[in-house]
Subunit: 191 residues, 2 copies
């Protein structure tokens, strides 16, 4: 998606260790008008799919998922990363490793909000090694629900996550795929 | 707001310890169409205010803030609850105590995204003792920005947070104020 690629070129910052900072428009400050354009693009890309619910994971997926849900007219469920006293005990759970936070999380979705009747669109901001996504897919499988597709804002094409998902035959639509980036020159190349 | 009160009566669950579970439509599964109606109501209540940015706190404030930002045509900044490797070190920080998680958090907003020119609408899902809100207000003050108002989905009117905020002369618009609730009968009374 040209609009997103241009924005990443303009405001994205490449840091050592394969870090692409997009905190001025994606995951700390959120450009909601950009999200709305991204939502329209996913609506076009997943046209004809019967989607009943959007699934994402806290925290940075929630804003994009909420705006996308307005476009699709469906509710959002966001997976939680820790047990809260307000969560019931009847949950789907799995463990994922976070690239950003360098730790292992429990990922939790209440069984009340995912069922075998659901047709799920998964939305998230980043796809790199795919750990978070594999966790969400595992939860959808546990629920017996159907994954209709996955919408990602920014995929790091030089990491394995995207390839692993596509090999499974799932429709994965990443709106910007970074082929390479250089933290010394700041250069970002898209696929 | 009648629509929200009716929804709380229908789907809210009262638990011991002053817990009101609204996870089927607010903070685990999110009813985006309801959020859109809430956003329109805040737009009406804050009409005439010059709002440049919405501030919220992860995770459950983000969805409501994102949908509200579409209505106001402004970006959202969400405060983070822990240091991530992707955050810069030039941040506003404060500490808040979480009622839900029974622990103390660092709350962090990058200095890049709040400035003295900003006119802020704070949005969050719950107001009880007001600790999270006091933390956000502290950060806005540190930035020298102006708080134009605060929009809360559900205020627990029997706790002190709302009163403390109103005493400071800030326009606080809670769309549902719970006066009392009973975990034995499940009864919820609104102000």
């Amino acid at each position: 998606m040209k609009l997103l690629e241009e924005r990443i070129q303009k405001d994205g910052i490449v840091r050592a260790g394969n870090v692409l900072k997009v905190d001025s428009f994606i995951n700390h400050q959120m450009d909601i008008q950009l999200f709305s354009e991204m939502a329209k693009e996913w609506k076009r890309l997943f046209a004809g799919k019967n989607i009943t619910k959007i699934l994402t994971i806290e925290a940075s997926g929630i804003g994009i998922a909420a705006v996308t849900a307005m476009e699709f007219g469906v509710p959002v469920v966001f997976a939680k990363k820790s047990q809260s006293i307000n969560l019931d005990f009847d949950n789907y759970t799995t463990k994922i490793e976070s690239f950003t936070h360098k730790r292992i999380y429990d990922v939790i979705v209440s069984k009340k909000f995912l069922s075998a009747e659901d047709h799920i669109l998964i939305i998230d901001d980043f796809l790199a090694n795919g750990c978070a996504l594999e966790g969400l897919l595992h939860i959808v499988e546990e629920a017996g629900a159907t994954v209709e597709g996955i919408g990602i804002a920014i995929e790091k094409g030089f990491q394995v996550g995207g390839e692993k998902i596509r090999e499974r035959g799932i429709q994965l639509e990443s709106l910007a795929i970074v082929e390479s980036m250089d933290d010394e020159t700041g250069e970002i190349t898209f696929r």
